[in-house]
Symmetry: C2
Subunit: 419 residues, 2 copies
C-alpha cells in the first residue's frame, strides 16, 4: 500500500487514560514514515470528521504529545454522536469517505466504546464498497468495562483504583468518628447497567469487616427491607456502615432509585443521585446520621491517581492499533489478553470488529456474592490486578501539569455538509 495519512478520533465519555492511547497511536505512527504520512485527529471526535475539522497533529510539539500519556479527558475533544445505519443515513458515510479522500486518509483509528466499534466496522465495510478502502482499527475505551472480547477496557482500571482508594479513605474517616457522629456513608459511583465500578470498591477492604459493607449493583434488584436489615446489623457489629451504590441501582420492576423524573435531550432518564435517596432511606428507617458523596466526573477524570497497569495498557493498545494497521490488518480491534499464570500478566491480541456485535459484558453473577451485596473471591481476583501501580503525572505549583493542545486545523477542501 502506498503512503497514506492517518486519522484518529476519540469517542464517547472520556477517561483518565484515553489520551495515553492517543499518545501510543501518534508516537507509533511516527515510527512508520514509509507507510503513514500525516496524522490528523477529528476535532470533537467523529463530528469533527463529518465537519472536516481535522487537527494537524504534526503542529503539536513532541513534548505535548508525550504529555498526553499523563493527561486525562479527550485532548482532541470527544462527542456523543452515533452514526446511524448505512441504510438509514448513507449520506453520513459518503461524507466520511469524501473527507478521507480529500485528505488522502488510508487509516482510521476510532477510540471508543461498543457503539464506536460498531461504527468503525460499518465504515470499514462502506469504504470497501465505495471503492476507497480505508483500514479501520478500533481502539477500546470505556470506564464501564463492558466491551466483549477484551479481558478489560482501558479507563476502567483507573476508575476502579480511584473508587477503591476513595472508599478506603472515606471509611477511615467514618470509622474514626462513628462513636459519636456519622454512622452511615454512601458513595455513589458510575455504572448505569453494569456494576463493574461498584464492584471495584470491594478492593478497599483489607480485613474482615472492613468497608465497603454493602455494595448495590444494577444487576441485583434492590430490596428495601433486606438492605435495611443489613445496614442495621452492620452498624450494630462494626459501629458504622459504608455503602457503595451504582448510579443504576434499581428495584425489581426496573425503576431506578435515583429516577427524579426528568429526561435528558436523548430521552434518557436523568438520574438525580441515588446516594441521597439511600441515605435518607436509612435515616428515615433507622435514624442514623449519614453523609453521602457522588463522585461523578471526578472518578473518570482522576488521572492524578491513575492505575499504572491501565495507563500502560491504554498506550499499548494505541501502539498496537498502528502496528496492526501497518501490517495490513483491517476491521479489527486490539484487545488485552490476560495470562493464565497465578501472577498477573497481559499481552495484546486482536479481535475482528465483526465479533463485537454491540453486546455488553455484564458483571458475571458469580462475581457477586449470594446475598447480592458483596464481591466474591473470583470477582476480586479478576479486579485486583487492574489497579496495580501508580503513574503520577508531573506537578507544577502543586497541581498536575496536564497538556492542552494547540489543535490547529488543516485547511478545509470540501463544502460544508448539511447536518
Amino acid at each position: 500500500m502506498s503512503k497514506k495519512n492517518a486519522l484518529y478520533a476519540q469517542s464517547g465519555g472520556v477517561t483518565a487514560v484515553i489520551n495515553a492511547s492517543a499518545c501510543g497511536v501518534i508516537e507509533t505512527a511516527k515510527q512508520h514514515p514509509q507507510s503513514i504520512g500525516k496524522v490528523y485527529a477529528g476535532n470533537n471526535g467523529i463530528l469533527g470528521v463529518l465537519r472536516e475539522e481535522l487537527i494537524d497533529v504534526s503542529r503539536e510539539t513532541p513534548k505535548s504529545i508525550a504529555g498526553l500519556r499523563h493527561t486525562p479527558s479527550a485532548a482532541f475533544g470527544s462527542c456523543r454522536y452515533k452514526l446511524k445505519n448505512i441504510d438509514e443515513h448513507q449520506a453520513e458515510y459518503e461524507r466520511l469517505i469524501a473527507v478521507f479522500k480529500a485528505h488522502n486518509i488510508g487509516y482510521f483509528f476510532y477510540n471508543g466504546g461498543g457503539d464506536s466499534q460498531d461504527t468503525t466496522h460499518k465504515i470499514a465495510e462502506f469504504s470497501a464498497r465505495a471503492n476507497y478502502p480505508v483500514q479501520c482499527i478500533g481502539i477500546p475505551k470505556t470506564i464501564d468495562n463492558d466491551l466483549p472480547l477484551t479481558d478489560n477496557c482501558p479507563g476502567f482500571g483507573s476508575v476502579a483504583k480511584y473508587v477503591a482508594i476513595s472508599t478506603r479513605e472515606a471509611a477511615f474517616d467514618v470509622a474514626s468518628m462513628c462513636a459519636s457522629s456519622t454512622k452511615i456513608f454512601v458513595l455513589e459511583v458510575m455504572g448505569r447497567h453494569a456494576g463493574w465500578i461498584a464492584a471495584a470498591s470491594s478492593l478497599a477492604a483489607q480485613h474482615d469487616g472492613d468497608a465497603p459493607h454493602i455494595i448495590l449493583f444494577p444487576e441485583i434488584a434492590f430490596n428495601r427491607e433486606k438492605f435495611l436489615r443489613r445496614v442495621s446489623r452492620c452498624v450494630k457489629k462494626h459501629g458504622y456502615c459504608v455503602i457503595v451504590a451504582s448510579e443504576g441501582t434499581q428495584t425489581a420492576d426496573g425503576k431506578f432509585l435515583a429516577d427524579g423524573g426528568s429526561k435528558d435531550a436523548f430521552g434518557h432518564i436523568q438520574l438525580g443521585g441515588v446516594a441521597p435517596v439511600i441515605a435518607n432511606m436509612v435515616k428515615d428507617a433507622l435514624g442514623y446520621k449519614y453523609h453521602w458523596a457522588v463522585a461523578d466526573y471526578l472518578q473518570r477524570s482522576a488521572r492524578h491517581i491513575a492505575s499504572k497497569t491501565d495507563v500502560d495498557q491504554a498506550y499499548a493498545l494505541g501502539k498496537a492499533a498502528v502496528d496492526f494497521a501497518v501490517a495490513g490488518d483491517n476491521a479489527i480491534m486490539p484487545i488485552i489478553i490476560r495470562g493464565k499464570g497465578k501472577r498477573y500478566s497481559w499481552k495484546i491480541g486482536q479481535a475482528p470488529l465483526a465479533d463485537m456485535a454491540n453486546t455488553e459484558k455484564m458483571l458475571p453473577r458469580h462475581y457477586i456474592s449470594g446475598n447480592g451485596f458483596e464481591v466474591t473471591p473470583a470477582g476480586k481476583a479478576y479486579l485486583a490486578p487492574l489497579i496495580l501501580g501508580e503513574d503520577y503525572p508531573p506537578y507544577k505549583n502543586g497541581l498536575p501539569d496536564y497538556v492542552q493542545l494547540k489543535k490547529q486545523q488543516v485547511t478545509k477542501k470540501l463544502k460544508p455538509m448539511k447536518m
Copy 2:
C-alpha cells in the same frame, strides 16, 4: 517538673493530616524521656478521657507510629463532643482531673478546632484551680481554615489541593465533551460558614477562561438572576461552565440553597446537596445538560493526594507542642507563621489560648472579586503555597497502605462516670 505522663486526644471532624500531628507528638515525646513518661491517647477523643479509655501508645510499634504520618482520619478515634462551661457542668472538669491524677498525667495535648482550643484553655485554668496543674497545649486542626492567630490550619492545605485538582480534572472532562454533551458541571465542596475550601478551587485555573468559572461562597448572598446570567455568558463564551459551590451557599435572607432543594424519587427533600439544586436551577432556566458531584468526606480524607506543605506543618505543630510543653509552656497553641519574603516560607510560633476566644477567621472580603464569583490575586497568593508538594503514601496491592492501630487500653483505675 518531675516526670509525668502525657495525654493526647483528637477532636472534631478529621482531616488527611491530623495523624501527622499525632506522629509528631508521639515521636517527639520519646525524645524527652527525662520529662515525659508514657504517652496515652484518648479513645475517641475527649469522650475516651472522660470514660477513662486511655490507649497505651507504647504498645504500638514504631513503624505504626511512623505510618501515622501518611494515614488519614483520626487513628485514635475522634468525637464531636464539646465540654460545657465550667459553671454549667463542673463535674466533667472534675472527672478529667481525676483521670489525669489517676494516670499521673502532666501534659495534655488537644488536637482540634476552635471549640477544642477553647476547651483546652478551660482545662488549663481548671486544673490550676484544682491544684493539679496540667500543662495544656492545643494543636490546631481544621479543614475549615477558620482558626485565628495561625496563618493557616493543618488539614486545609490538603483539602485545598484535592479540590483544586478535582476541579481541574473535571473541567478537562467537561471541556472535551461540551460540543455535543454536558455543558454544566457543579462541584459541591465543604464550608458551611467560610468559603476557604471553595476559594481553593480557584487554583485550578492556569489560563484566562479556565475553570472554575463561578465560585459560590457562603459569604456572598446567592442571587439567582445574577448567577444565571453569568452561567449563560460563560457557556456562550467558553462552551461550558464549571461551578464550585460551598455547601453553605445561601440567599440574602440566610436560607441555605440546599435546604429548599428538590425532592427525590421517594418524595424526600434532599438535604445537604447544594450541587443538584444549582444544577437543576440551570437546567430549568437555560436548558443545559449538567453533571454534578458532591465530594463530601472524600475531600477531607484524601491522603493519597495530600499537600506536602500541609503534612510537614501538621507534623511540625505536633512536634512543637511537645517541645513547648517540655520547655514549660502552658495554655498555648503552636501556630504557623508565614515568612514575609516573596518565596513562601513558614516557621512555628506560639499563641496564648486565651487569645483564641472562639472567633472564626472568615475569608476576607478582599480575597473575593467584586462580582462575588471569583478569587482575587491576593486570595490566590495566600492560597497557592498551601498546596505545594506531594507526599504520597506507600502503596500495597495498588492501594495506600494506611495504618490501623491496636489501640490497647490501659487498666481503668476509677469508677465509671455517669454521663
